[in-house]
Symmetry: C2
Subunit: 249 residues, 2 copies
């Protein structure tokens, strides 16, 4: 029969055994750090698993949250609305990434976080991070690293996915999604409207491009339409072609 632990000890045990601990925020904590996590007492109980189904919202733009989140499983997209009223998906984050960090500064969330696929996140109270941050330099460093990672990711995304011909951009997106999913694994296939908001193009354009890629064997839509299988070499060829025509200019 299993021994019954107090709530925070159970959570500590879970954190120590977390499959994404290496990549996640508290991965920076060594044994001593984890001990401090335990000593943080009742606050540690604030760490919670949370599961979302696809299209469910994790937090809303403007919401004054008291938590940050580490993605444990699945993909989460961050959306904003431009001044012209157009929806933009500014990032898609996966396993191990930290979102909602603006809450650490007492700021409202700067964008809308929505699950792309079924998602599991780890909800971490700001107060807990603050406590540990004061004591643990490694956590401090890890936080800075996350922030830089987010900034760099956002800029790379913008530079590579927001310019060039439509076909090229879609291919780059698929390539990214493929890398995120792991070689050979089915990828998350966004709705056409989502692709459009991701890449800054019209819904119909996204549809045309995807249809053509399917005909060319780059892509194979799986039942349910929300996932697909990629043909790596066909994708690479198509990318080279698209880049070739783009480079002419």
């Amino acid at each position: 029969m299993r021994r019954v632990y107090p709530l925070q000890a159970v959570q500590l045990e879970r954190c120590a055994a977390c499959p994404v601990r290496e990549m996640a925020l508290f991965g920076a904590l060594d044994e001593a750090g984890l001990a401090r996590l335990r000593d943080a007492g009742s606050e540690a109980a604030g760490i919670a698993d949370r599961r979302l189904s696809a299209d469910a919202r994790l937090y809303a733009l403007g919401e004054r949250g008291a938590s940050v989140y580490t993605v444990r499983e699945g993909l989460v997209r961050l959306e904003r609305v431009s001044e012209q009223g157009r929806r933009c998906i500014v990032r898609v984050v996966g396993r191990g990434e930290l979102i909602g960090a603006e809450a650490l500064l007492g700021q409202a969330y700067a964008d809308e976080a929505v699950a792309c696929t079924p998602v599991a996140v780890c909800r971490i109270p700001v107060a807990l991070v603050d406590t540990l941050r004061a004591q643990d330099a490694a956590l401090q460093l890890a936080l800075m690293r996350r922030w830089q990672q987010a900034l760099d990711g956002a800029l790379r995304w913008r530079v590579d996915l927001q310019s060039g011909p439509a076909a090229y951009r879609v291919l780059r997106l698929l390539d990214d999604l493929g890398r995120q999913a792991g070689a050979g694994m089915p990828i998350w296939l966004p709705r056409r409207e989502e692709i459009a908001d991701l890449l800054g193009m019209a819904l119909e354009t996204a549809s045309r491009v995807v249809s053509r890629l399917r005909r060319d064997g780059v892509l194979q839509v799986l039942p349910g339409r929300r996932s697909a299988r990629l043909q790596p070499q066909a994708l690479e060829q198509a990318l080279a072609r698209a880049l070739g025509t783009a480079e002419r200019g």
Copy 2:
């Protein structure tokens, strides 16, 4: 006759009197913090003013620098090159902003920093920031705030300036530059090629749009071609017009 201070004391005096101290990184330091800045000793001497003329490079992409920079005067642009080989200006930063923060993590600079106008920056050694960071929670917080500011700025830039009709984007850019310069002040007027790289359009398109704005009285190019005067109400009208046509869709 002025008294002669040891080098670091001179710098400390300068920092305490810095006109951008409130906005800049060390603005977070209180008197005790500034005292610690002095105690950091010889390292404090590492803080240095640096002046650049327009188009001079502050640091290069891939360079392993040991400093971060606070912009004291002028505008600095951060450039990257997309996979297709196209140059992209990902941010334009002004007075009080911190750049090159990736150096704090031991990483190479992630982009190219180039002066848009004559520029004055404050060069701060990473070692100094590390030392003070360990002792001063306020500085720590200020750093996090900078990072978040950079992330948010980059995303807002992308969302508002990278989509919509060309005319609309140029107007938004001018509006931004006008705000940065202050009402009534002449703005930095980028070269046409720079506008193109900033907004993701062709050089000729940028030229056409600017020419038309000049004819419409939104913009008045000043001698030297590198600065201009804005007509706020004409700009606002033009923005409303452009947004009106954009909203149809």
